[in-house]
Assembly symmetry: C2
Homo-oligomer: 325 residues x 2
């Protein structure tokens, strides 16, 4: 039977399917505005982001014949790395199509995982088209980064873990959103929780789509953002639908708020958050996400940031901060 959209049972099945492949990332306690709440530190996942979850859920279900032909993924980095790691674990070859301006830290990790990289120009070429052509040429399976039932259900395993670790469903989950695979999957996993998705300013297409009730793209003149992982120009009906049906709403954060959240994560949580991974924390710290409770969970979704860029952000933030002593 062909399934038309992801659902909660699928998320729960995915969580069981991939449990042996993924790190059960911790819920870390953190104080914001006098309230102790929780950060789901998915930057501590294998490969440094939640992306392994969806890729593993997809690849595990391939037949032996499909496995033999390998996989193709297009990605700015984290999805490529998640796919490369899942492929290596299953003995499959992997080709990752990446924009040439992707962070070196992500390219290096993908190469280290044994995958082949095909570079493309983000401005003039379509990675979707290149990916589809490579899949056709090699016979390999194309692994989309979010517009896929298995991928969304795999990412949703984050929500299943949160409920287990908290001992109950959270009041609210605040989660970064690019294409919506992670946030859509979590919304399916936790139907009784309030879902707040967070995007960088100017790239808040899911937020505006949810407000409008239909999908709107990112405008062509969107501003520069450090959030390479969240530069998705158009979300998919699958992810949009999951968030819309959950009554999710969105907020946007500035680059300064993101940098402050990265420094906060290092100092108060001792975790490395990449810009796109830190947007939900940034929104909570900026007071943009409504009341916080002790059953609120903020997802930090990735930690793959260029070391020089990271050092410079931390230095600038430390130099700005008032010295208390």
């Amino acid at each position: 039977m062909v399934r038309e959209k992801p659902d909660r049972a699928g998320v729960e099945a995915a969580a069981r399917r991939i449990a042996g492949e993924v790190v059960r990332t911790p819920l870390l306690p953190v104080e914001i505005g006098g309230v102790w709440l929780w950060v789901k530190a998915e930057c501590l996942q294998r490969g440094g982001s939640f992306k392994l979850r969806g890729a593993a859920n997809r690849l595990i279900q391939l037949s032996d014949e499909e496995r033999g032909r390998g996989v193709v993924a297009f990605s700015s980095g984290n999805h490529g790395l998640g796919t490369a790691l899942a492929a290596r674990k299953l003995g499959m070859s992997a080709i990752i199509v990446m924009p040439s301006d992707a962070p070196a830290v992500k390219r290096d990790a993908i190469l280290a995982a044994g995958a082949r990289i095909v570079e493309m120009n983000r401005a003039t070429e379509s990675r979707e088209e290149i990916g589809a052509r490579l899949a056709e040429e090699t016979g390999g399976t194309l692994v989309p980064s979010f517009d896929d039932i298995d991928i969304i259900e795999g990412q949703g395993s984050v929500g299943v873990e949160i409920e287990h670790q908290l001992g109950q469903a959270p009041d609210k989950v605040i989660v970064p959103c690019g294409g919506g695979g992670l946030s859509g999957g979590i919304a399916l996993a936790l139907p009784d929780s309030e879902i707040v998705i967070v995007e960088p300013s100017g790239w808040d297409d899911m937020t505006r789509s949810l407000e409008r009730g239909s999908i709107v793209p990112v405008p062509d003149d969107a501003p520069v953002t450090r959030c390479d992982a969240l530069q998705t120009k158009l979300v998919s009906p699958l992810t949009f639908g999951a968030l819309r049906d959950a009554g999710a709403r969105g907020v946007a954060v500035t680059e300064d708020e993101i940098a402050a959240a990265m420094a906060f994560a290092a100092r108060q949580l001792r975790i490395v958050a990449e810009p796109g991974g830190a947007v939900a924390l940034a929104a909570a710290l900026a007071g943009k996400t409504g009341p916080l409770t002790e059953r609120t969970v903020i997802v930090v979704s990735g930690g793959n940031v260029d070391p020089l860029v990271y050092a410079e952000i931390l230095r600038a933030q430390a130099a700005e901060a008032p010295r208390s002593s």
Copy 2:
């Protein structure tokens, strides 16, 4: 019955006693020299180091009357913070005696936890004497940083968790050593595992004590080290005895090796390690700890590092690293 030394049963009891107070920190997979092994990320503990464990184990066992009189601790930072957090949780007042050159990040966190700080000069005053005097004046309980059965057993809960998480005892545990509370406790928890303790060069008094078979102090002309958390001039018979009886051995690492390990931790594990917390990882990366296996566990014991110092270390390491692309 007065107990003379810490033991395995005591460590297991401590682990049960404090389970509700501490974060069950994750075992994170990491590849070193082609082998996938594990990092116990205790920098993700509440307060940013393992120190909460020992303090909680000590304070929970105080009588209501003792709790009412508060606690006094002397500490370069992490033990003070662990004690302050445990005291706050139990509704107790806390006075922390700290050297005036302790990192601001640690002082700030202790103040934020509601404790009072008394500063002293590391070169000319004895924090032990000041702590003892304050304890006498206030009637408060003195909480030593390592020379105490309850403290050692509490820190040993790290070893109990490692065995549970790994599903079996590790082959080898590589662990930072200051006074030896953490390493001694782990040695008691894991009697069948090889224990390798790691110290900064010139501060390797436990290493030399284990080689010699009796306690030797750090010489007065010990070099400057960034490892504020490991500047212990003399270990205790309790910690030395636990490590000696376990057949533990030690190695020393340089400041450069420590900085490289901090950068590796940020990039490959997405965790913030402070200098003293990174020494065991540094030793493993430098090939100083003998064969590594997939059942080797490296403890990263703390992540409280001054933000400007941290940014500068990451910047220098990133600038030095060969660019692979």
